[in-house]
Every structure is written in structure tokens, then in C-alpha cells.
């Protein structure tokens, strides 16, 4: 269960958002909306632990994130703008090193089954450089399917995905939330709220009014 309290983020001396608080319980999907530059990606990177926030705290299972990092990363799958795959390697090799890095126990059958689910069954030993951007995205989704992570943090997963790909992904989210998983996703298109588990959060409500901040904190990020 993820809880964010009074989070504020600053990039290049510009306060993107402040006073942001929300909770993501088991079996819930949270969609982060906001125009470009509102700080969606920065928010996800702060939660995933890449960058640090100006203020506020993040809790994972009621414990401060900074003390349970290993546990958090065991249960978390991050998918950024870039697919995170090596173009010279085949999808199978890519998924193996990523799974090993994330400490998940996998074997060839699991990976083949995952590739099959994303309709890339015959592509497992073709170098990724021959695949299209959409197919690369689906290889990354195969990694998502094969990983036991509870929390999915997906940054704009719908880019370079065609129509039925989007509905396939929404079906995947529902399946994941039924098994008690959590999905934190940013995207411009509104998601279909099939089981009433979807909540939306618009970052612009938390954008700071930037006329003369009274007194900026002493501490930097």
C-alpha cells in the first residue's frame, strides 16, 4: 500500500507541485493527469526513488520509503518513456537480464508464455533492433506480465500503442488489480473505468502559485 503525504517537487528552481497527498491501496488504479511540464514524470521518478523531492514523505506499507527501499523495489515495476531494452539483444535475452536484475525467478517457459500473451510468440530470438517501436513496447509489457511485482509504475504506457493494444492493456490492469495489485499510471487519454477501481488525480490542482514564495526551505532536494 503506497501513501504520499505533502509531497512537493522543484525542478530548475521552479516549483512544479506542492502539498500533494494521495493513497494507493490494493486493487486500485490511479491515473495521473496534467498538461506537459506539470511534473507527471517527475512525480513518478520521485516515487520510484530516482530523484528526491523538495519536501513531503512517501510511505510503503506504513513504513517510510527510505527505510524499506529493497523491499519496495522487489515489489515494484517501473516502465519509463524509453522501453529499457538493449537493441542488439533478442527479446528473450532482454527479459532474462531484466528479470535477474529485479531478482525475480524466471525460466524460459515463463518468458515464452509472457511473450505469447503480448502476441510476440515467434519473435523471441530476433534482435530487438528489427522490431518496431510498438513491438518494443509490447516486449516491455511482456516483462511486466512475467514480473510478480505488486505495484506497477507506468509512465505514458499508451504511446506508440494502437487501439486494441490500449484495450488489451486496460484488460491487463483489471486482471492485475483483481489479484490485489496496484497500478500508478500517467497518460493523456482517459482510461476506461470498468470496475470502479479507477481514480484520477490532476497535478495542476497542486501547481504552486509562483508569485513570490514567502521563504523557500533551507534544504535542497
Amino acid at each position: 500500500m503506497l501513501k504520499v503525504v505533502q509531497l512537493s517537487c522543484e525542478r530548475d528552481d521552479r516549483l512544479l507541485f506542492s502539498n500533494l497527498s494521495f493513497q494507493l491501496g490494493r486493487g486500485e488504479i490511479l491515473q495521473i493527469e496534467g498538461r506537459n511540464g506539470a511534473g507527471k514524470t517527475s512525480l513518478l521518478r520521485i516515487i520510484a526513488g530516482f530523484s528526491s523531492s523538495l519536501g513531503g514523505d512517501i510511505f510503503w506499507n506504513e513504513q517510510p520509503l527510505s527505510t524499506v527501499y529493497a523491499d519496495f523495489r522487489l515489489d515494484c515495476f517501473f516502465l519509463g518513456h524509453k522501453p529499457g531494452l538493449k537493441l542488439d539483444l533478442t527479446p528473450l535475452e532482454n527479459l532474462t537480464w531484466r528479470a535477474k536484475l529485479a531478482n525475480t525467478i524466471i525460466n524460459r517457459e515463463i518468458l515464452l508464455a509472457a511473450l505469447d500473451r503480448v502476441e510476440l510468440a515467434g519473435y523471441e530470438d530476433i534482435p530487438c533492433s528489427h522490431l518496431s517501436a510498438g513491438q518494443l513496447r509490447r516486449v516491455a509489457f511482456a516483462g511486466l506480465v512475467a514480473s510478480p511485482a505488486k505495484l506497477w509504475i507506468l509512465d505514458e504506457p499508451f504511446t506508440a500503442i494502437d487501439i486494441e493494444g490500449v484495450s488489451w492493456l486496460e484488460k491487463l490492469f483489471d486482471e492485475h488489480t483483481q489479484q490485489g495489485g496496484m497500478v500508478l499510471v500517467t497518460s493523456h487519454q482517459p482510461l476506461a473505468d470498468r470496475q470502479g477501481k479507477l481514480r484520477r488525480l490532476n497535478l495542476e490542482h497542486f501547481a504552486a502559485v509562483c508569485r513570490g514564495l514567502p521563504h523557500r526551505g533551507l534544504l535542497m532536494t
Partner: protein, 244 residues
Amino acid sequence: MNWTFFHKLGSPKWFYDISGKWLPWLQVISLVLIVVALVWGLAFSPSDYLQGNSYRIIFIHVPASFLAQSVYLMMATAAAVTLIWKIKLADMALKVMAPIGVSFCILSLVTGAIWGQPTWGTWWVWDARLTSMLILLFLYIGIIALRGAIHTTEAAAKACAILSLVGVVNIPIIKFSVDWWNTLHQGATLKLTEKPSMAPEMLWPLLLAIVGFYLFFMMVMVLRLRIEIISRERKTRWVKELVS
């Protein structure tokens, strides 16, 4: 443990007000000390029996070398404070100290080379001290170049902090290996600076010059730090009132 005092210590606004008070004093004292020391060393202290009057360069070479090395150590401590307690003022100090340090490092190298000419007959000598000062110059240039290359202030702050810590770990290693390398190739050449066995009328102006240079450094650092504070806190209200 109540850390508010410690964090108040690091608040840019508090530093700006405090430094405003004792800055003029610092300026006066440092300039007076430097003038007195150099005049004393140049005009009144006797000439060296071996090197004649060329040894008078010592009154600027030694303070500059000491300053170049201790400024790097100060930068390393500021870097440690930036990384551990994440106090913005420490990063501003780190950013501000680098150009001053590099200017004194260059001064030390140039005066060392000029002094080498009458002593050894060549402008540049691969003497252990001059070579490690040259390598210290490379470390300074590395930090300034890295600061210039990264544009986001937070990332630049921490990257330079890490680089100066890595550099400070390497300074003893470099000094040791250069000294060892120097003795291997040239044997003990005439050391540029005699140990305290110098005559008292030579030693006093030197100590005075060293204190004067350190105070001068502190004065310039505080001046630059205040400007850095204004530029980084330009969005806060107290800076806007200050400026308008």
C-alpha cells in the same frame, strides 16, 4: 535532537545578514595585513646568502600554495556537508570557492616557475611540489568544468560534491606518488622553501603574508557567496525587497 539551530546556521538569509556586518572589518584587516607583510618582506628583510634577493618571491609563492591546497580541502568539507545534510549554503560555498582556489593555484605555479629561473636556470622544473600543484590545478579545472557542464542546479551540486570528495581522497595518493617519482629521477634538489629554520626576520613577514592571504580569501569568498545567495534565492520575498 533539535536540529533547528544547525539548520538556522545554514539559512542563506541568516548568513547574508550576519556577513553584512563583519565584512567591512574583514576587508580592511586582510588588505592591511597583506600590504604590511609584502612591504616588510620586500624592503626590510635581508637577502638570502645563497639565492640573493630572488627568494623574496617566497612571500607570495608559499601563501598561494598553502591557500590552493587548503581551499581544496575546504571545498571537500563543503561537499561533505552538501551530501550529508543537504544544506544549500554549503553547495553555494562549494561553487564559489572553486574559481578563487584555481586563481591561487595558478598564482602558485607561475611564481614557482618564475622563482625556478634564477635558482635552476630553467623556467619549469619537474620538482615534486610544482608537479603536485599542477595536478591540483587539473582537479580544480575538473570541478569547474563539471559545474559548467550540468545545468540543473541540484544535479550539478551533488555531482561536484562527489567529484571533490573523490579528488580529496586522491590528493595524498598523488602527493605520495609524485614525491616518490621525483626522488627516483632527480635526487633531492634544492627545496624551494626552507623549513622553519629560516631567519626570524624572514619568517615573520612570511607568516604575516600567509595570514593576510587567508583573510583575503575569506573576504572574497564571502563577497561571492552573498552574490550567489541573491542569485539563487531570487524568487524569495526578502531578495526582491533587498534588490528593489
